[in-house]
Symmetry: C2
Subunit: 175 residues, 2 copies
């Protein structure tokens, strides 16, 4: 069943159901290779299970270490991904613009956020909550399967990047 | 439709359909948290889409850099995961025993194998090919969804490990 209760994100302004922003979201998702194979109807069903929020510049969307159970797609604006080092100094590890996904690890495993996400300019995001992913998989399995495949490809791509970047560390330990 | 043509893995001996080894596979998968929520019937359907192979000690199951489109579950024995460093010297990066999964990145993205897998003792594996995963998702969607979720959790766990291990590298670049 599509979303009946919006999740509360205290730092963000609730914009309403993603189905009110079908075209804007399609414009962002459409060019992504990951999104290949979604028909306009399936796109519309996916949007039935997402919600849109706006973050002002400087707003922390979620914080490193806190529990999380949703991911987001950046629609407009820009988000800095920030880690704290051993001395609690902040470091921007990446910058994510429209079409970028954030927070998918916690969506899948429900564990703590690996990094913080901070909007650097006014930013709109579409959010997919774990509860609504489960609802989509059971209520609209043909779309649910496509979304699971999209997530699987996304996480696998991140894993390939991470293991490739990790290589020098492994190698330096070999000596 | 369940498997009709076995894939050819030249270094391995074909043992037959995984459905001939239902109990052995359940014994290995049953204790895994990832496998939680599979009924015996769903387990049996999953096995309809997998095949079993045996590798002698010393046999390379697949090699770093080659194209791949299957993953495997180790049933018995042990497999070394080996990377080559810049000077082409081999290094064992992990050792995987019964219940361990290998090769899931290439199953998902069809890209080159990140590392080589070599059996250190006589080893039996159950193999899931990308073609058969697709067949399961369309032919047995309720099991297909569970397998996609299992894979998503597996890849996410690996990503969390990799990003955590990668942290010192990132931090050393900050200075």
């Amino acid at each position: 069943m599509p979303i009946t209760t919006a999740i509360v994100l205290p730092n963000l302004a609730y914009l309403g159901a993603a189905s009110n922003y079908l075209e804007e979201i399609y414009e962002v998702l459409g060019p992504l290779a990951l999104f290949d194979g979604f028909t306009p109807e399936e796109h519309s069903i996916l949007c039935d299970y997402m919600e849109c929020y706006a973050a002002d510049a400087g707003v922390t969307i979620f914080s490193e270490g806190e529990q999380g159970d949703f991911m987001m797609l950046v629609l407009t604006g820009s988000v800095n991904v920030i880690k704290h080092d051993k001395d609690s100094k902040e470091k921007v590890v990446s910058e994510v613009g429209p079409g970028g996904f954030l927070g998918e690890m916690s969506l899948v495993d429900g564990q703590a956020r690996f990094a913080s996400c901070v909007a650097t300019v006014p930013t709109d995001v579409a959010i997919l909550h774990r509860r609504d992913l489960a609802g989509m998989v059971s209520g609209q399995p043909q779309v649910g399967v496509k979304v699971l495949l999209l997530l699987l490809q996304l996480v696998t791509r991140r894993l390939r990047d991470a293991t490739t970047r990790m290589l020098p560390t492994i190698e330096s330990n070999w000596i």
